[in-house]
């Protein structure tokens, strides 16, 4: 067994891997929140419920329609995003000009309904979703065993996060988006349909959560509570990173996953609280967050 200074490297790298995987989900969810917050100034409290919805839809698609994982990976985010577009159009937009606390409360109510609905339909014990056949098995590395599916989660989420970052920060479409948040009237004047862009962005931000849900279905059990538990952690991550930047949301998400994994190895009792502790420290030293701009 490989050890260094009496540390079991095998176990350490195992926890690091778990941390990176959790971090991938944190990154996807906080990226979605950051996009929605950036454009609509809304904290989407239903983001966790949408993640849960994504996992359930993948499970239902396989169970009732025989739709396999790969198709679900494309269809489910589209369905979740479409659902979000309806919500934006009919529930969020009417109160968009009100105090932002109302939209937080509205999405909170929505999260309660979704979670209650799935508890009612499937109970709270959780359902299993098989790893797709193509990604079964794993690779033996000198210091650890790497299951293929777990490697896939990290790669898939990194690719999606990086692409999203690139589109928003480097392309013309992204420039429209950013300009639309800075000065909607002016963009309107240039003939850009800002409400349409807003709606689509909301849909995309939520679709990211749906995508994370499908990715998560084979590694965690699919249960109604999976969303609410992860959401509060993601909120803490958002506070740590500061909502100023898209890249900050991705980096902080991954980083906090790793921090959590390391804590699980060195001091397991604190693993569920370490992210909140980091948040307290960051708040004390840099209230705007690591990547945030001082308002």
């Amino acid at each position: 067994m490989a050890t260094l200074f009496g540390i079991n490297l095998f176990a350490l790298s195992g926890q690091l891997l778990v941390g990176l995987i959790n971090g991938s989900f944190y990154a996807l969810l906080s990226l979605g929140l950051a996009i929605i917050f950036g454009l609509l100034k809304i904290i989407n409290f239903a983001q966790g419920a949408m993640y849960m919805l994504g996992a359930f839809l993948a499970w239902m698609a396989l169970q009732y329609f025989g739709i396999n994982y790969w198709v679900a990976l494309v269809l489910v985010p589209l369905a979740v995003g479409g659902f979000a577009i309806l919500i934006e159009r009919f529930l969020v937009r009417p109160i968009a000009k009100e105090d932002h606390l109302y939209s937080l409360l509205l999405t909170f109510g929505l999260a309660l309904i979704l979670q209650g609905l799935f508890t009612q339909l499937y109970g709270s014990s959780g359902l299993a979703y098989q790893i797709p056949a193509e990604l079964k098995g794993g690779t033996k590395l000198p210091f650890m065993y790497l299951p293929n599916y777990r490697a896939w989660i990290i790669i898939a989420s990194l690719v999606v996060c990086a692409t999203t970052w690139w589109v928003i920060e480097k392309t013309k479409l992204g420039a429209y988006l950013r300009a639309g948040t800075e000065n909607p009237q002016l963009m309107q004047g240039f003939g850009i349909n800002v409400p349409l862009i807003t709606t689509l962005t909301f849909g995309f931000g939520v679709a990211l959560a749906g995508f994370a849900g499908v990715l998560a279905a084979p590694v965690y059990s699919v249960s109604p509570e999976m969303g609410s538990n992860i959401l509060i952690v993601v909120f803490a991550i958002v506070v740590i990173g500061g909502m100023g930047s898209i890249g900050g949301a991705i980096l902080t998400g991954l980083m906090m996953g790793v921090v959590e994994g390391l804590t699980k190895f060195f001091y397991p009792e604190a693993s569920s609280t370490v992210i909140f502790l980091v948040m307290v420290i960051v708040l004390l030293l840099k209230p705007a967050g690591l990547f945030g701009k001082e308002a």
């Binding site: 606390l101 309660l112 309904i113 609410s228 909120f235 803490a236 506070v239």
Partner: protein, 307 residues
């Protein structure tokens, strides 16, 4: 004059209420009403949405519960200790939370509450998943036995009235005026030379201590303290009570607490028990979309328009 009459008749009603309705139900309503009033002091009068307020309710409950179980102290001292503990935690959390505004404030309070939730989950004195059961009600001042529900009711009523009076006093004091000024226009309050964060902080401490008082009392009533009280679902519930009753009104949270507790009591017995969270969520959405001033707020609007 008119307002005094309203207060007096409500006071009279609360005195005779346990003769008609089940006192334990009434005590539950009073505890949650106090909790919601304390929460509303922040949301309704300072404009701060604390999304982790259940942690103060639960802290009061756990401290009072474990003291009553393990030491021979009298209930009034137990409640005092629980209230103080919640106030101290509120002082620490408030100091951190007031550094951020608006939605960030909500997220910070929620995350801080979750930190304490995990602490209570693992700490030996809270009984973990089982909670603290069989907490004795004890004898008030060592003399009056609280095990009788009618006696306990009047004790709870006295506590509620004290908390309600304190909030009423706070809101109608010069301090309360400054709080409202912060709610209406924070930059202006800053430019007038007020240290806004300090005012928010003091309001946060008062609110968390009173939430702790509600939790301590609730633990004595039900002889139980459990994770339910510190879970963030409870924080959501108190937001709902305040929103539904009417935030920023004096009586709104009381009415909201009454309605929510009644709905829950009514549903939890029957087959509809599982639908509670769906119904709560639906009430949230309806309130936000169509009913923003809540029951009391809408009623006040109606009275102003028609009389």
């Amino acid at each position: 004059m008119k307002v005094n009459k309203l207060y007096l008749s409500l006071f009279g009603l609360s005195l005779v209420a346990p003769l008609i309705l089940y006192p334990v139900f009434l005590m539950k309503v009073l505890c949650f009403a106090l909790f919601a009033c304390a929460f509303n002091l922040l949301l309704g009068f300072v404009g701060l949405l604390s999304f982790g307020h259940a942690i103060f309710l639960g802290t009061g409950g756990y401290i009072t519960g474990s003291l009553m179980l393990n030491t021979g102290i009298t209930p009034e001292l137990g409640i005092l200790a629980g209230t103080l503990a919640a106030g101290v935690l509120g002082a620490v959390y408030g100091k951190l939370a007031v550094k951020r505004e608006g939605i960030y404030f909500a997220m910070v309070t929620l995350a801080l509450a979750q930190l304490a939730f995990f602490f209570y989950l693992q700490a030996p004195f809270t009984g973990g998943e089982d909670g603290l059961q069989g907490v004795p009600r004890g004898k008030l001042f060592g003399l009056i036995d609280l095990s009788d529900n009618m006696v306990m009711y009047y004790f709870v009523l006295a506590i509620f009235l004290f908390g309600f009076w304190l909030i009423h006093r706070t809101i109608h004091s010069p301090f309360g005026q400054i709080l409202k000024a912060i709610r209406e226009n924070e930059p202006r309050a800053v430019s007038l030379g007020y240290n806004v964060n300090d005012y928010k902080w003091v309001a946060f401490i008062i609110s968390s201590a009173l939430a702790g008082l509600a939790g301590s009392t609730k633990t004595l009533v039900f002889q139980l303290a459990s994770l339910t009280d510190v879970h963030w679902h409870m924080s959501g519930e108190v937001v709902l009570m305040t929103l539904l009753g009417g935030m920023g009104t004096i009586f709104g949270p009381v009415v909201g607490a009454g309605v929510v507790v009644t709905i829950q009591n009514y549903l939890s017995g029957g087959e509809l028990g599982n639908y509670i969270s769906i119904i709560m969520g639906a009430i949230f959405i309806v309130c936000v979309l169509a009913f923003r001033s809540g029951i009391v707020g809408e009623f006040q609007k109606m009275v102003k328009k028609n009389f």
